[in-house]
Each structure stands twice: as C-alpha cells, then as structure tokens.
Amino acid sequence: MRLGILVMALCALLAARPQQAPVFRSGVDAVTIDVSVFQGNRAIHGLTAADFELTDNGVKQDLTASSIETLPIDLTLIQDASGSISNQIERMRADIRAVAAMLKPDDRLRLLTFATHVAAPFGFQAGGTVPPLETVQPSGATSFYNALVSALLTTPPSERRQLIVAFSDGLDTMSFLDAADVGSAAARTDAVLHVYLVRDAGAFQVSRGWLPYDGESDSDTLRTAALDTGGQFYKSPSAAAIPTLVRNALDEFRTSYVLRYTATGVASTGWHDVAVRVTRPGRSTVRARKGYFSGPERGK
C-alpha cells in the first residue's frame, strides 16, 4: 500500500538485495506510481524522469527515478467458482495453469475464487509452478465484490509489484460489500486492478443479496475503482480467452514505468490526488493511479 509508513528496516532489507533496485511501494513521504504510456495501442519506451511531470495534490514533485520496472510481479487472479460455471470448470483450470506458466520464476501467482464464500485455493506461489486446483469445485452463489475487497486488502505492502486481474459475469448475488467498498480499498493499496466482466448474452446487471438494485451505476463505480488504480475495466460481449487477457495485462504491466518521489509541500495524511503527464512533445495517453490515501480515514 502506498500509504503505509516507510519503515527504515525495509530500507535496510531492500538495500541488502543487490540484484534489485530499492523500491518503496508506498509511504507518507516516499511514493511510487506505476505509469503506462501509450501512443494509440503501442506502449512508448525510452522515457526518463525528465519526460514526466507529476503533481501530488496539485504540488509539482521532483521525481527521483523513472524506469521500466524489472521487479518481480505478484499476480492475484480472481475467478468465479459459483455453480453457474460448473460446465466450464475444466477450461477454467486449464486457463489458470496457462497463466501460471506465463509467469517468470521470480513472479508469483495466487488464486482467489468466489462463490458463496471467497476462498484462496492457493496462496502466492512461484511463477511456473503447477497450481493446485483440486479444491476448486464450482457451486453456490457469487460474491464478486467480497473477492475484490479481499484481494485488495490482502495485497502485501512489499517491494514486489502488485497486479490483480479479476474475471466475473458481473452478477453478484451474495456480497454486501459493494463497488464503493472496492474503490475505497483500491485507493489504499499499491495494486493495479484490472476487471473483466465477461458475459455471454443479456443485459448487464449487478444485484446484491436478495435486494437487487440498478446495476449500471454500480458498474460505473467499479470502473472508476479500477481506473483509479491505473488499471482497466472491460466489458466483453462474449466469453473471452482468459490467458490472452491476462497476458495483455502482464505485458502492459511489465512495460510500465515506475515513478518515485518524496512527497513534499503536501499534508502527510488524507487523500492525495496524483496527476501525471508526459512533457515530451507528441500525443500520448498516460495511465496511472489517480491518487492514494495516507493514514487512516476514519476515527472513532
């Protein structure tokens, strides 16, 4: 989480790892922001810190570093395991194995599944390891929002880069946490969140428990939550190839820049609006976290 307190011990730990540049994923003072830059659909390479301008709560910050990040990735995959996908379980298992195989050995993968409950069939394990999927047995209702919040809140505040990719048909029949709670958690973590709503047919609607509500505004809130992390929100009209979508998200994540700065001239707690732009001439699209929370929001 970018808003956690910067701990000196972490500095020492990171300094003791010569292969990797020290990165503080978050902190009151030291902040890192993942930034993807595109021209059309093509990622732009070769930018330096001088090519970026970043403001924190409107105050321009001095960037201390900018790099195509080589740090390992923690990928959290969120998959529907409700009764509605019981006829797709073998394909789902094959997809997860394919995702595990596309990670580098230093990367890690964990799986969260959501049905009536949210479960972790396996925690973070090294990329390339065959994932244990025997316990994934589809049944029950769907608690998509619970799964998203669970993933975001348990994102480790480590030097590793955090990517969460979630797949759902968008129909939630169990959670009482909602898209706003997802947004709230997303604003307090380091993770970049991609949400794919895959549906075969029909109008998109989200319901909660047995008291339904209009889904479209919820869809918008979920979209905002994902975009605010620097991630993406996709609604697909048909079932998509999950490994391909994850590969795209990973490729984009691997080619993104990491901007680092020590926040100055701004309050140490509360919400920080972050805006990033590329100063180099020419049209480009910048995708980055929209801000972060520092310190607790709520008191007694």
Binding site: H117, V118, V149, F176, L177, D181, W210, G295, R298
Partner: protein, 370 residues
C-alpha cells in the same frame, strides 16, 4: 418411540443390506463387509421401497442413492403405489409412526430435488407426504419437527429463487401457505408459525421489489410484514429472530436508527450464536450507514466472536479495521478466512428464512422415527 418388528421384514432388510455396496453406511457395512459395487448398479437395483426399508433402519445416506434429480418424480409414484401397504404392514398401532417414516423419507428426498430447476416434483412429493400424515387425526408429537422442516425447506427454496415464483405464477407461495395452514391446524399456537407467516408475507413483498427499481436506495416497507414480525416479537421463543428481521427491514428501508434499537434488543434476548451473529452484523451495517464507523467495527467484532466462521463479518470487520489504519489485524483476519472458507455463515442462510432449522429438525425426526 417403541415398535415391534416382524421377522419377515428383518429377513428382507438383511438381504437388502447384503446387496448394497460397501461404504454407504455403518449398518450396511456391519452386515455386508467390504463389498464394492459401482454406484450406478446400486441406483438401478435399489427400489424406492427398498430404500425406505433401509431408511427406517437408520441409514439416511440411502436417500442419496435413490433421490437423484432424475428420479424425484418416480419416487413419488413408487410411494403412492407402495407406501400405503408398507405403512399398514405392521398393524394399526405402528401405522402412524410408519407414516412419519415415509413422510420424512419423502421430504429428505424432496430436498435433493429442490436443488434442481425441476423443483416442482419435490413439491408434489412433499404434498403427498403431508396428505398421508393428515390421515391420523391426532398428530404424533414428532410431526411438529416434520412441519417445521418443511417450512424450512420451502423457505430455503423460495428464499434462494424468489423469481421462480414469479415465472411460475403464485403456486409455490400458495403451496407454502397451504402447508402453513395445515401446520397451524395440527399444532395450534406454535410460535414457529408466526415467523413462517411473516416470512411468507416478506417473500411476497420481495417479489414486488424485484419487479420495480428501488426508490433512492430505499425499499418500500409493506406494513403487513412489519405488523406480523412485531406480533412475533412479542413471543419470547421467536423474539430475537423477529427483531433481527425487523431490524434488517428497517435498515433497507432507510431507517438505521430504528434498526439499531431492534437489533440491540435482539442481541440481548438470545443465547443462540447464529442469531447473535446476525444481530451484531446487521447492527454493524446500520451503524456504518450512520457513519459511526468505530461503533460499527465493534459490532462486527461481536458478530465475529459469535461465529468465527462467518466470512461476512470477517470481511466487514477487516474492512473497518483497514480503514482505521489497523492493517495487520485486517489482513490476518481475511487470510484466515480465505484459508478456511466454510459454509457456516449465518448471513448466507438469512435470506433462506428458517432454513437454519432444517438440520436440527431432520436430526430430531430421524431419532424420533427409529
């Protein structure tokens, strides 16, 4: 409950036990030893009446062999054909108990069928059993368990699939009401029927919610639902349960203060862990709605302490702690919950009304009919 058992039936039953595959029941294992047959063979060879015999001897697992969704319809037909003679076979004194055996067998089988889209056949099976039981003008005391179990089963089905009753017309709810009417006749003034009556009315209200969008985040509270739960809340046996449902109704109706009063009262009027859990959990939501986040976290913690496996309370407690900057405990709570996800969250049964009573009612029935 005592009963005399005729020798010929024992012979038949032992023969059936020998014919069954190993591993399905302790009783059968004793008699048959480690013989292993493919399940498909057993399903095709075991008749419904054979299964009823084994069920009477105390093997509830036998239900799974005959009550596959495909066979629910044929169970009813076989019971209609064979059960009357089976009930009378041991004489008139045994007949009421055997009726209850057959009726209990029928609803255990029906429960399997309700989990499929073709739940109608289960309803007609339940209807057959209900009609059989009413042959005896004075019910056995254990029939009360049977009636509560059926209320639980119907509440489960309609609570999970309220839309079903829209597409299928009013029939499932009408069935529920008809069953409740018989229950009220058989066991007058039982407080369970007060809750069931209110729940049915609530289900009707939910159906109407489903057919129109919510109004500015609020649902319209039908007065009859409130009055029925308020009446139930005056009876100590169901006071806590009624106040929990009233509290939830007022919360979704946009009156969290009112909800908190009722839920606080509910929490102090029951020792049942599941009800304590629900009272504190929903109270936490109401406090959250009021922006009293510190108090809400305390309520979620009380819910978690009442039922450690309830993931809903874990997530809300963790989310609240996280927002207060207590990240370490929040992560620890969620990690623990993800590793031991179980099906024992009372909130997941809430919308299925009295379904939480199903296991204990069936257990008491099984013991009573032996």
């Amino acid at each position: 409950m005592t009963r005399a058992r005729a020798l010929p039936r024992i012979v038949v039953t032992v023969a059936l036990l020998v014919a069954l595959p190993a591993g399905r029941s302790a009783a059968r294992d004793k008699a048959a030893g480690p013989v292993s047959w493919p399940q498909q063979d057993v399903q095709s060879s075991l008749s419904v009446m054979d299964a009823l015999e084994l069920y009477e001897l105390g093997d509830p697992e036998v239900i799974k062999l005959v009550a596959t969704p495909r066979q629910i319809g044929s169970i009813e037909l076989e019971l209609i054909k064979g059960a009357p003679a089976w009930i009378k076979a041991n004489g008139p004194r045994e007949a009421p108990r055997r009726r209850l055996v057959a009726a209990t067998f029928a609803i255990e089988a029906a429960r399997h069928g309700l989990e499929t889209i073709d739940g109608w056949r289960s309803l007609t099976l339940m209807e057959w059993a209900s009609t059989e039981l009413r042959v005896d003008r004075t019910p056995l005391p254990a029939e009360r368990f049977w009636r509560i179990a059926v209320v639980a089963m119907l509440a489960d089905w309609l609570g999970q699939f309220p839309v079903t009753s829209i597409t299928a017309g009013e029939t499932p709810l009408t069935w529920f009401e008809k069953h409740l009417g018989f229950s009220e006749q058989r066991f007058p003034k039982d407080p369970r029927w007060l809750m069931a009556r209110a729940f049915i009315t609530e289900l009707r209200a939910i159906q109407s919610f489903l057919q129109r969008p919510l109004l500015e985040g609020k649902v319209l509270i039908p007065n009859d639902v409130v009055l029925l739960y308020e009446a139930a809340a005056k009876t100590p046996a169901v006071e806590a349960e009624a106040n929990i449902r009233l509290g939830y109704i007022w919360l979704t109706g946009g009156e969290p203060d009112r909800a908190i009063d009722l839920l606080t009262r509910a929490a102090t009027s029951t020792d049942e862990n599941d009800l304590q859990y629900l009272a504190h959990l929903i109270r936490g939501w109401a406090l959250t709605r009021l922006g009293r986040h510190g108090d809400a976290v305390a309520a979620f913690r009380r819910a978690h302490e009442s039922q450690k496996d309830g993931q809903t309370a874990v997530l809300w407690l963790a989310n609240g702690l996280f927002l207060q900057g207590q990240r370490e405990e929040a992560v620890s709570l969620i990690d623990g919950s993800l590793k031991s996800a179980t099906e024992t969250d009372p909130w997941h049964v809430y919308y299925r009304g009295p379904f939480r009573l199903w296991p204990s009612m069936i257990q008491q029935l099984r013991e009573a009919i032996r």
